[in-house]
Structures are given as structure tokens and as C-alpha cells.
């Protein structure tokens, strides 16, 4: 076990900003990519349904 306390864990031996800045931005990037793709997929399906509907009426 590396950490004596939660504070020590957050401080990362004085490098907290750099370490958490790296990990947080990476996680946010991945989360945005996944959410963005899910929105894009729904959008394409929706567009296609709308288009299809238009054609059939």
C-alpha cells in the first residue's frame, strides 16, 4: 500500500496537478468519445427513419 491517507493520495507527493490532470483529461476524452458516438449512431438511425417515413407517405 502506497498511501498513508486520502490527502497523500490526492497530493501525489506534490505532483497531484500533473498526475490527476493527465488521468482526468484522458478519462474525459474517452467518455466524450463514447457519448458522442452513441449520439451519432442514434442520429443516423433517426434521420434514416425520418427519411424513410417521408418516402412512404
Amino acid at each position: 500500500m502506497n498511501w498513508e491517507s486520502l490527502t497523500a493520495f490526492i497530493e501525489m507527493g506534490g505532483y497531484g496537478t500533473y498526475v490527476w490532470g493527465s488521468f482526468a483529461v484522458t478519462i474525459v476524452c474517452f467518455a466524450l468519445e463514447v457519448v458522442g458516438l452513441s449520439v451519432r449512431h442514434q442520429h443516423v438511425l433517426h434521420e434514416r427513419n425520418a427519411h424513410h417515413h417521408e418516402e412512404s407517405t
Binding site: 506534490g14 474517452f30 449512431h41
Partner: protein, 246 residues
């Protein structure tokens, strides 16, 4: 083996549901590996005697940097196959890989800056490794923007493939830059020809995180290629017949 008709999967229509089935499995596997990798990164890996806790950035920096190079080569490979044999799905794969490759490159640069500042005293230096990685980002963006700028998708595929293929020369330049030039960036962390220079827990954590990044990249590329297939084939009968939640 000859019973499996691999070419069958080269049709977007057959690949679409296959990718949809595979993507969640890769996603779940990526999450499991990332969880274990993060546990090693923060709780098992010891403090570095030179760099203190700052070195923990390596657990995302190196996997992201590796992926940025691997994904470029895979993207260029698919683009080249699409260019040579006019296979639609190959070009769609290249298009689906580019944004994830660009994202990995951005993460490698970002985490590199946050590691460089405390260790070198600078967010950025114009040395060979950093500069060639920045060029990689521009190659990905160039590929994406050129593709988006041409209305006819098949023409866009061919034009963008040329950038992808020519740009592939940059990948070995990035990889060997630390050997060929005097750079501030440290040498390769892992080499096949000599024993690792780091503690085995650190190495292990880095490899687990790399597997997580691989699995993540495969999952998102499969999801994106499904979007690309739908966008391009929206007028095909099979797309019209898909259910609303397909």
C-alpha cells in the same frame, strides 16, 4: 478453415451486425483491464526513486503513445487496401480509426506536457520525439479534414488514402527519434532486445493499461464504423429494413 468465408465479412451489410455484437464485449473487457491497470498504477506500483509520484503518468502516456502509432499504421493499411482493391469496408475502417488515433495522439501529447513540466521544467520542447508526434496529430487531422472536404465518399477515400500512406513514414521516425537524434525525451521504456529498465510491477501495469487501450480502441472503432456504414448506405434496402434500435 476454408469453410469460413472471410470475404463475406467484407460486405458492410454483414459487418454491421457483427461489429454491433463484438463492440460491447471489447468495451467490457477494456473496462476490466483498465480497472486492474489503474489499481496497479496507483496501489501496487512503487514510488519511483528519481521521479517520485509524477512517473505514474507513464501508465497512460506510453499506452496512448503506442496506440497513436499502431492506429496510424492500421489506418494507413486499411486505406491502402481500399485504394488498391476498391473495397468499400476497408476505406470505412480507415475513416473510423482516424478520430480515435487523433485522440490517442492528443492524449500522448497532453500527458507528455504534464509530465515534462515537473521533470524538464517545460511543457513543450521542439525536440525530435515531440515534434514528430505533433506531426502525427496533424496527419490524422489532415486525413479527417480532407476526407470531410470531398463530397463524393469514394473520391474522398482515395484522396485521403494518399495522405495516410505517405504519412506512414512518420511512424518509424517517431519511434526511432530518441535513437537518431539527441532528444530530451527518454529512450524506449520497453525493448525486445534488452531487459526492461523499470521495476516489473511498473512494466506489468503499463502492459495491462496498454491492453485496456487496445480493447477500448477496438470497441470505439467498431461502433464508429457502424455509424459510417449507416451514413454511407442510408439509401440501401438493408439499411431501410433495420429496426429503430439496430
Amino acid at each position: 478453415m476454408s469453410d469460413i468465408r472471410w470475404y463475406k465479412f467484407s460486405s458492410p451489410q454483414t459487418f454491421y451486425p457483427l461489429a454491433g455484437t463484438l463492440a460491447p464485449w471489447f468495451g467490457v473487457a477494456a473496462a476490466l483491464f483498465a480497472g486492474y491497470g489503474l489499481y496497479i498504477s496507483f496501489f501496487l506500483a512503487p514510488t519511483d526513486f528519481q521521479q517520485g509520484e509524477a512517473y505514474r503518468i507513464i501508465f497512460i502516456h506510453v499506452p496512448a503513445a503506442w496506440m497513436s502509432m499502431f492506429l496510424y499504421l492500421i489506418m494507413a493499411g486499411w486505406a491502402a487496401i481500399g485504394l488498391a482493391w476498391h473495397t468499400r469496408l476497408s476505406s470505412m475502417m480507415a475513416v473510423a480509426i482516424a478520430p480515435t488515433g487523433a485522440l490517442m495522439t492528443f492524449i500522448a501529447l497532453w500527458t507528455g506536457a504534464l509530465w515534462g513540466k515537473p521533470m524538464w521544467g517545460a511543457w513543450w520542447v521542439w525536440d525530435a520525439r515531440l515534434t514528430s508526434e505533433l506531426i502525427l496529430l496533424f496527419l490524422y487531422l489532415g486525413f479527417m479534414f480532407l476526407h470531410a472536404a470531398i463530397d463524393d465518399p469514394r473520391r474522398a477515400d482515395r484522396a485521403a488514402a494518399v495522405i495516410a500512406i505517405v504519412g506512414a513514414i512518420n511512424v518509424p521516425i517517431i519511434y526511432f527519434s530518441v535513437k537518431w537524434w539527441n532528444t530530451l525525451h527518454q529512450g524506449a521504456s520497453v525493448s525486445l532486445t534488452r531487459s526492461p529498465t523499470m521495476a516489473s510491477t511498473m512494466l506489468w501495469g503499463m502492459l495491462i493499461m496498454s491492453i485496456a487501450f487496445w480493447l477500448y480502441a477496438i470497441a470505439v472503432v467498431l461502433i464508429r464504423v457502424r455509424c459510417v456504414i449507416l451514413e454511407r448506405e442510408r439509401n440501401a434496402d438493408w439499411v431501410k429494413q433495420l429496426g429503430a434500435d439496430a
